[in-house]
């Protein structure tokens, strides 16, 4: 029996599609990565259906690509091989459990950030999750698996650090649970002190199985919050201020963007340039506390650092959030609740891409300076985005490109992204949500034994090589 008939038998004919339109929709994303249509799309709704799909694919040696909304900005759900089946998980969209005492939520892959935020606000108003610079219709589970960043990353780190455990269908069809949830229902309180097998799935881009449930840490929603803006000049003072402020541990989160992005959010029409005399960067700094006094003292800690820096350059300016909205527009208001608001301006064209990396703090400033020169050389809008991560244990940076997808521009974007990645890799930065072309460059710099270990783990879990083959550049079999 052909794979299509097998899948139709599992989920019903109405949830299997191989029309030209469906295949086209799943063949590309907003990035510059080359498109390739899948052979068909299947939409399971239950764990049992996912399990049967994987078992069927093993029989026919059919490549499977887990998919929710395809918004990874890494081309991670574009088929890398011919004949792939997209397993679209968006119908699995239950919020299964919120544990108020242990502060976690158990979700299926189709649960989105918008969905989760509304659910928590309505039913568990004392708890919050964390939200990324991504559309509100993107998957909570996928984002955590891909180790991206969020609006609590300055305090808690990458999104994968929020994972308490998960349930997955292995590439060979068995259902496994990792983390304390492996000991029974209603017990997803931690991923320790067991061997940390979350690492068999997080960061693997769907090569080691299909994750069907995930327990994620929630946090108390603090009664008092405040946001401030900071306009600053020059890469060195900007990074120095951000680093100094983050190391005080007063921040919930920090977002530092180049001024063109500040102006875009304020309503300036494309193309947006940086003019002489304008501050180079703008930061959004978020603090919270149990009392107004605690919050005010945290702001005073920030103000003291900024005032010290102002002795060298008085143009650095700290702005209250109310003042910022008055001067730069009310559209800044929703951004602090849901960073997705900033995403709107990035969707100016049909193309959007970036190479996001995590980097040692000592190289942050240099890479920012040299990266800026590369972007300016290619003539793109300067949209830099930085975040202090996990109390300043490391930094994140990326240059974002919004672009029309004509052939010439796509070619320039590819060249510029490649040059930026080479620069980042030369300073030991590690890309996240890594597209295949970037993974191959990364592999050249990684210890060969690390790559060998990755390959060995992947082959042990997926002997038939059916799970998202081609990702991470690990597809070449000996």
């Amino acid at each position: 029996m052909e794979i299509k008939q097998r899948l139709m038998k599992i989920v019903g004919p109405e949830r299997v599609a191989d029309g030209a339109a469906e295949k086209h929709v799943y063949s590309y994303d907003m990035t510059e990565n080359p498109s390739l249509p899948p052979s068909l799309v299947v939409m399971p709704q239950t764990l049992e259906e996912v399990q049967q799909i994987v078992q069927a694919a093993n029989t026919t040696k059919t490549p499977l690509i887990p998919f929710v909304t395809g918004q990874s900005v890494g081309g991670l759900t574009i088929p890398a091989v011919e004949g792939a089946v997209i397993v679209d998980l968006k119908r699995m969209n239950r919020i299964i459990e919120v544990d108020e005492e242990a502060m976690y939520v158990l979700v299926e892959p189709g649960v989105t950030f918008g969905h989760l935020k509304k659910y928590l606000d309505d039913h568990h108003p004392t708890l919050r999750y964390t939200y990324p610079l991504a559309p509100p219709y993107t998957s909570v589970l996928a984002n955590a698996l891909l180790e991206g960043l969020c609006d609590l990353s300055t305090r808690h780190g990458a999104m994968a650090d929020f994972i308490n455990g998960l349930e997955a269908v292995l590439p060979t069809g068995e259902v496994v649970r990792v983390g304390t949830g492996a000991s029974g229902e209603g017990n997803w309180f931690s991923r320790y002190p067991l061997p940390d097998l979350v690492g068999l799935f997080a960061g693997w881009q769907g090569m080691t199985g299909i994750v069907t449930k995930m327990a994620l840490q929630l946090w108390p929603k603090m009664p008092f919050n405040r946001h401030v803006g900071l306009l600053c000049f020059g890469e060195e003072p900007t990074i120095r201020m951000l680093t100094r402020i983050a190391r005080t541990q007063v921040l919930d989160d920090s977002v530092c963007v180049s001024t063109p992005l500040v102006k875009m959010v304020s309503g300036v029409a494309a193309p947006v340039e940086l003019y002489d005399g304008e501050p180079d960067y703008g930061m959004l700094l978020t603090v919270s506390g149990n009392t107004e006094t605690e919050v005010s003292e945290k702001i005073n800690v920030i103000r003291r650092i900024v005032n010290e820096e102002r002795e060298t350059d008085s143009r650095h300016v700290l702005i209250s959030w109310e003042g910022l909205m008055k001067l730069m527009g009310d559209q800044w208001g929703p951004f602090v609740d849901l960073p997705s608001e900033m995403y709107k301006v990035l969707a100016e064209h049909d193309g959007l891409t970036w190479v996001g990396t995590y980097i040692h703090p000592k190289y942050w400033k240099t890479v920012l300076e040299e990266g800026r020169a590369i972007v300016e050389k290619y003539g793109f809008e300067l949209i830099a985005n930085l975040k202090a991560m996990k109390g300043m244990h490391f930094g994140e940076f990326k240059f974002i490109f919004r672009f029309p997808k004509d052939d010439d521009t796509v070619k320039r974007v590819r060249e510029c992204n490649a040059e930026l990645l080479d620069l980042a890799l030369s300073y030991g930065a590690i890309p996240y949500k890594t597209p295949v072309w970037a993974a191959k460059k990364l592999q050249e710099r990684l210890d060969p034994n690390f790559v060998m270990l990755m390959r060995r783990v992947q082959r042990a879990l997926d002997p038939n090589g059916i799970m998202n083959p081609g990702r991470w550049g690990l597809d070449e079999r000996d």
Binding site: L231, T259, V262, K263, S266, G267, V268, A269, V272, E273, Y275, D276, G277, E278, P279, S314, R315, V317, I319, S320, E322, G323, K326, L327, M328, G329
Partner: protein
């Protein structure tokens, strides 16, 4: 009535003034004004040309009617109501040139910008 400038300070002025021009009476009043004002900040200067509306441009034109010297930090302090415009003038955080020669223009602009800042 108002152009949308692409620089930061000009855009701030645009946002402040655009809110005010939802008031038709103010709009028709300002349309009759004829003057040029340079807002000379520590970031860079911006020129507001009043002539059947307002044109906001990065840079300073020669021989403006009024020059208002200040820092962006002062603009922020006034917007955040941490400093009143009067206090700014007394402390010379706001400096008006052309006041004696063009008191009416200076007063008009002062009144407009104070209203736009909501203070």
């Amino acid at each position: 009535m108002l152009n949308e400038p692409k620089d930061l300070v000009g855009n701030v002025l645009y946002i402040l003034l655009a809110r005010q021009f939802e008031d038709d009476r103010l709009l028709s009043e300002v349309k009759d004004w004829r003057m040029t004002v340079v807002l000379d900040t520590d970031y860079y200067p911006v020129t507001l040309t009043f002539a059947d509306g307002i044109t906001i441009e990065r840079g300073a034109v020669p021989n403006p009617t009024i020059i208002l010297g200040t820092t962006f930090d002062t603009i922020v302090s006034i917007a955040a109501e941490e400093m009143s415009p009067v206090r700014g003038l007394i402390n010379r955080k706001l400096r008006i040139r052309g006041l004696l020669k063009h008191p009416r223009a200076a007063f008009r602009f002062y009144r407009l910008i104070v209203r736009a800042m909501g203070v």
